[in-house]
Symmetry: D2
Subunit: 494 residues, 4 copies
């Protein structure tokens, strides 16, 4: 339980917080929501929840673990009946993973119940929470999202959807949010559109989802992205028809989608802002090959994130693409934690070198990103142990220097590889590679958007690379140096 | 799952809601709380919770099931560290048994955290809840106790203990409540003192507990009953000493302890309001023998509740006391649910007749109370099947005509045996006994308090027998006929 | 997990090994077996199993835990279909409790399958096991019963029931055994009839059960005890009729039923060898009062075993019977294991003194038996702590000096109270009582059988009191001093 | 539970039975065995077991589920102490997956204990089992391996290793077996060497493992393949040294390794019989491109099995390799089972089309093999739904016509695609592809072994393609038409 030995190649990556899904007016609403969440599972594996409304009552089912662990059982789905449902998968950034932090969250209001689910992170969540508690609010979870729920409950507006817009007006940061009242399903994106949210439809019934892959799994049609700063309100009318209306209640700001959605988070088969994620990743590899060529015998992806970029690199360079690292798919629920003596053997639990393709070769290892670099050290060693003659690392994104505050779980800046070394040569020595190159910021912009970064008005948000944050950071600036991130006094076990 | 066949002799009884315990200033606070709750387990078996404060942070551990299922593990107790702790066992009356209904409940306040645990029931809980929601409060549970928490959070008083008193001033009904802040442990009883609460001490550290048996298990000393309408505030001072202060912040009302604590709920080895419960029950049986004598060969208790009264009956009548019904202690977690064909065999899962002591005998069956009478029918049949020549039922409490609203789970009045029959003879025929007699209300008062009922100022509350409710019934009177008891829109599965 | 603190009054008792049940020709065979085993649960709580035959195939369901934990589920019972079934509850004496030791055991034979279930213990089991292994048998469990199965498998007789008799001919010790083949249900008792087994019937279908209480629970009729050395073979004939035949294939020996069945093991509502167990226990208390009278105020049973004897003692002595010790029924699955500091408080988890009936009184504590005496020390202390003026212990059976080898789990002889003290006075001082008396062997015989012990031909087996073993002890005598009791080389975890 | 909806692309594949591992003389024997089994997890996911010997006693730990579910816990490993250990992972072919079928199996012998683990299947297992039962053996499991254990137990040879050889002499079929006695670790392969087994070493301590990837994970050195018909006996001598001796006790037969190890079963990073599995698969794709070229825009592997062949096909053909199908790694423990209405949406739970790479393209889908073809139908439909202009299927192995009897779980022959259609065109129409081609048997032989099939003495066993079985099929030929495969009369639930 305490210390766990981990030579997981996935260990040194960034983690996305959440995925959201909602559908209005469909008889299989909760089953479709479960499928949609399953397709979004890569966005959060710690917990999943579904809330439905059956015309009379809201129903909630929230579980730690994978969607496929719980929501595959028809009896479980029968506990969330009705023709409107919404759901959430989470990887926790704020709030330990305890059941009452699992979304969607729900509140009874005087004007009727409302459920909300949130992908993103508020930059003034703690500030708002302090104010609410001073006013007598009781916070049951440590989740940012509960703050939004309190704002809704305290709004004096007449309708629950107006209250929802009221609450959005008070928050800062990144959010792709889905809300559900007794007749409405609402999707909203923050003014910069940092986190993705799409609108789709199945049999004429509207759907919101974090990514298009959640539409594909149920055969739904993609309509369009919800725009930055847009609130889309779908409502079942008295006659059963469904209306869809768009609002832009907040001052307009430039769209700045998070680049890491393309680099790492989104599923390769998703379209994000009209661009294939797989194609963007291949283009990153392609650009990388042109920016940082190397004489080599074989291009090997670091699975699974680096594979599309490696294919691009191989196509651009003409060097053959080979599976030089094999992934073990049967990992079990926990990881093996061997004794010290075994640790020294260099145990590889999730990945192993495919020696026949490595031995005596000059290897180009293509990875999607490097965070701390600790995993890179191990992987280079594994490749060298398998007999590689040379190991060259090519990273399909720029160096990371800054923390994210919008829903990506980043290490403290001082732990980032780029901040621990004076120059690239020092990093390369640390990792043990023969050469190391990162994709340029322009190379990344071009791969994703087709053109270079516009320094005056960047087309995306790239703050982890550049420090250029798209919103103010209220909590951060208002916080004393040593103040803890969370203010909850209660630690709930289990 | 759905229908469960139940020849449980315990099935047709009343259920008590809760037990509470708290201790201040002891290094083994949570372990002692676990032991105290274990001793109070008869007051609630569905869930148990402990909250502690370690000088820096509150900790909470709440579990469905018995105290002995979870809080026996040193690792579990290690999750609730600190030298102040309080706990709760519950049998749910309001609020389905879901984890977030399990007490103690906790809230972060601007002035610091507070945890509360409640035994009893509010008669204006729904009324208050509606008002709070209209003001923007978010109710996460369906528990009455959460209403108290919201009242505390919204109070404008400076200290958390003042806020607690503020909240108590707004509620009606029965309560024995324990609250804990960063420095204080507070015990309070409602103005009538309907539910019991005692003050004890161990090594000079104050303890609150629902019954004295929770003091006995840890070798603590009984100090006195918390009085009706009293708030006792124990506080750790800066120098480590503990002060204990008594307040009576509410208009005085006559004490009226619930008689059913003596008849059925409290453990026989507890002292309630200075009177041995076991002695009271024996006296009930003694008085019953004098009020309702019968020629018979053997006095048989209906286990386990009827045993002390049967001993009293036997001693008063001179008829030998025998264990004519044997209880199976190994019942397992669920009950056997046989097929229809087996049901007809008259299966006895928890009890069986001790034929050798029954056959050919005239049997006096002594029970503590009769609610619906359904169990009595079965038990008389079982005794007759074992060959009894005559079966006479003697009940050690009066007939029940009215619902309780103070924390006892009573069936709807129309389902009570006493309301379904015009007279005693009809009840007796229904049950299948040769004779049936109930203890008189005066006989009960005398057994418990040593004197007859004072009709002008009853010494106890006896509303289930008499309809004389000690408080106003705000929710009941304000409620439209068909309105549901609870207003929650959300049904949480699991 | 490791050390468990245990002030359980039940801790210092003897443990019975098993209970058996079987029924032939009834459509609800497995459900009735589950109910019968539930009634026999006091004979073994560690595991339960049922084997059925559906006319085509045998089915088996074996589980650790209580009958009521598993066999209450209709889906579980559906896995043991057919109109013949047999079952077993076990408390393990030989063989750790692992699933493959759980009975009934089953073997495919060339002549068809056979299942067997055993209550008792073989005195030549290890000797036979060694011989079988030398012949190439593979033992999968560490259970004595598997030896019987191997003997059946290796018998050269034509029918499986003949093979069963063959196997019985080779074993020594105590057994009440039930066997089932494709058409037969067989019950057998060892030549001395040490362990009980009765024959009953329901709707004309024969039943075997360890005690009559297993007949009562399903409304079945008691026919007679299976006799010592008798093999009763019930068979479904081709025309559907059931024949019942009796065999006595072994040299006749005197019947010597185990006295501890009356003293402690059997349920009080069972008839064993035609004698009510409850009546026998009351008679033990009655005789004890005459043999060992004492001036006192109150007779208090040590629950639950001592209760009938205490009633007898009270009736004979005229001293009032009172529940001076209260038992906590809600113990949970594990026991509380407090810290050292708490242990010193004298925690009472399962029992507590009923102070109001003890304080200032001269108390006669009546217990069924004393094994090590360690529990008696604690209980006397608990009674003294509750304020008793005098504590007199009266034990309703003689002193125990010897080990049992017939299915009762006895401590090593040097750990028995009677072997650790030179005389009664020393024992009394150790226990801390004011006086201590045991029932005489003649007093016990008279209570159970109506007449004194016949030293030339004892009517019962009483070896734990007298050292007079009814069979030879082959394993014991053939074993080198330090040889382990079991010879299995394999330790199966979990 | 009953019917499970499954659009799993992995659903229509063959399943391998088992993987084995053993190590002698290493202080971390059981931890290393756990790691080795983890690396072999692809050979069996239903259960895993480890047996160790600590110099005094054998220890066993067997669990259903993945190695990583149980054997990652140091406390679990502590239950299998000692410096010699062996283990097994299984996918059950014969014998339902119940715990007592989980290997390694163990028997106490007169000459000491022995544990065995088996990968393969006997072709005379039922015949031997019948004979053993007739001789009085009791079979506790339905596993073939238990038959071997009985043969060992009944052998009259003096040493347990000689008895093991004795037993091997009686069996027919395929086996790679590891056995362990108090001083020896033994590895053996059947005379044809159908299943793989390698000898390795770590710090001079010998290891047996099904594949080299189990050596790589612990940093052990590959020594050589155990040869067909070879028994390798490693023994700890009295002085602590380890001797390794080779025996060939059986009449020599030609080596015929199973081709499906290369086609599908073995891990791509393993070396089997000196040949890289990954390289062999790439060569299959390469040969397939030459045998069955097609005009197309993109080569898409059916993940994960088809990937190496697809890379080979792309390299040979010059058509770009792209990830046109994306695999969802987060599947959970069970599969989603949607309602009929949802099923019609064409749900894809484990895989989805990468539309951006498919739409408007001519796609070559490369798969490793086709068994029933049912999955191919679905995948072609999925690719067409994603907008492919043409879909061409290329299969990197020949058509399958025959059942396997050597440890591969094959459907009944009448359910194989190749047996359900008169010709390739009919299969192609059934699958819905624009063209369909299989690799020739010579193309496969050349890819694996470098030369064409020698029809007189085939270098491999290829019976599923050709019907040319390398051993006699005793059970099959001796079995009456409708006789069940297993003769067990007992069905053990749970």
């Amino acid at each position: 339980m305490a210390t766990s030995f981990d030579l997981d190649l996935d260990g040194d990556t960034l983690h996305e917080e959440c995925g959201v899904f909602g559908i209005l007016g469909h008889p299989d609403a909760s089953a479709l929501t479960a499928l949609g969440l399953h397709a979004l599972q890569h966005r959060g594996q710690e917990a999943a929840g579904i809330v439905s409304f059956d015309g009379r009552q809201f129903h909630s089912e929230r579980q730690l673990g994978l969607v496929g662990d719980h929501f595959t059982n028809p009896m479980t789905l029968a506990r969330v009946p009705g023709n409107m449902a919404m759901g959430h998968v989470r990887y926790s950034t704020t709030g330990e993973t305890i059941l009452r932090n699992v979304q969607p969250l729900f509140a009874e209001l005087e004007v009727g119940g409302i459920a909300i689910a949130h992908n993103g992170n508020l930059t003034n969540g703690l500030t708002l929470r302090r104010r609410l508690i001073a006013q007598g609010a009781i916070c049951q979870s440590t989740s940012d999202t509960e703050v939004v729920l309190h704002l809704i409950a305290r709004s004096q507006r007449a309708s629950s959807s107006d209250r929802f817009v009221d609450a959005l007006g008070a928050i800062e940061g990144a959010y792709a949010m889905v809300a559900m009242t007794r007749t409405k399903l609402i999707g909203a994106r923050d003014p910069n559109g940092i986190r993705p949210l799409v609108l789709g439809e199945l049999d004429g019934k509207p759907i919101f989802a974090s990514e298009t892959c959640a539409l594909d799994i149920i055969g739904a049609k993609f309509i369009r992205d919800v725009e930055n700063g847009e609130v889309v309100v779908c409502e079942i009318q008295a006659d059963g028809t469904i209306t869809v209306e768009s609002y832009k209640p907040f001052p307009p700001r430039p769209e700045r989608m998070c680049l890491f959605e393309y680099v790492y988070f989104a599923r390769p088969d998703s379209m994000v802002a009209g661009r294939s994620v797989y194609a963007a990743r291949k283009a990153m590899g392609y650009n990388l090959a042109r920016e940082a060529p190397v004489e080599a015998d074989v291009v090997v992806p670091v699975p699974d994130g680096g594979t599309p970029a490696a294919i691009g690199y191989a196509q651009a360079s003409g060097i053959p693409f080979e599976l030089g690292i094999i992934r073990n798919h049967y990992v079990g629920r926990t990881f093996i934690e061997p004794t010290q003596s075994i640790r020294a053997f260099g145990v590889k639990l999730k990945h192993s070198a495919n020696r026949a393709e490595i031995e005596g070769k000059r290897v180009v290892l293509v990875d999607d990103s490097i965070v701390r670099g600790t995993t890179s050290v191990k992987i280079v060693q594994m490749i060298r142990d398998a007999g590689a003659r040379e190991v060259h690392i090519r990273v399909a994104s720029p160096m990371i220097f800054h923390s994210d505050y919008y829903g990506i779980d980043t290490p403290d800046p001082e732990n980032l590889l780029a901040n621990q070394h004076p120059d690239l040569a020092s990093m390369c020595r640390f990792i043990g590679a023969d050469s190391l190159q990162f994709l340029s910021i322009d190379g990344l912009y071009e791969a994703v958007g087709g053109e270079k970064r516009n320094p005056k008005a960047p087309q995306f948000t790239d703050h982890y690379f550049t420090g250029d944050y798209p919103t103010s950071l209220t909590d951060l600036n208002g916080r004393a140096k040593n103040e803890p991130k969370k203010i909850s006094l209660l630690k709930e076990a289990g």
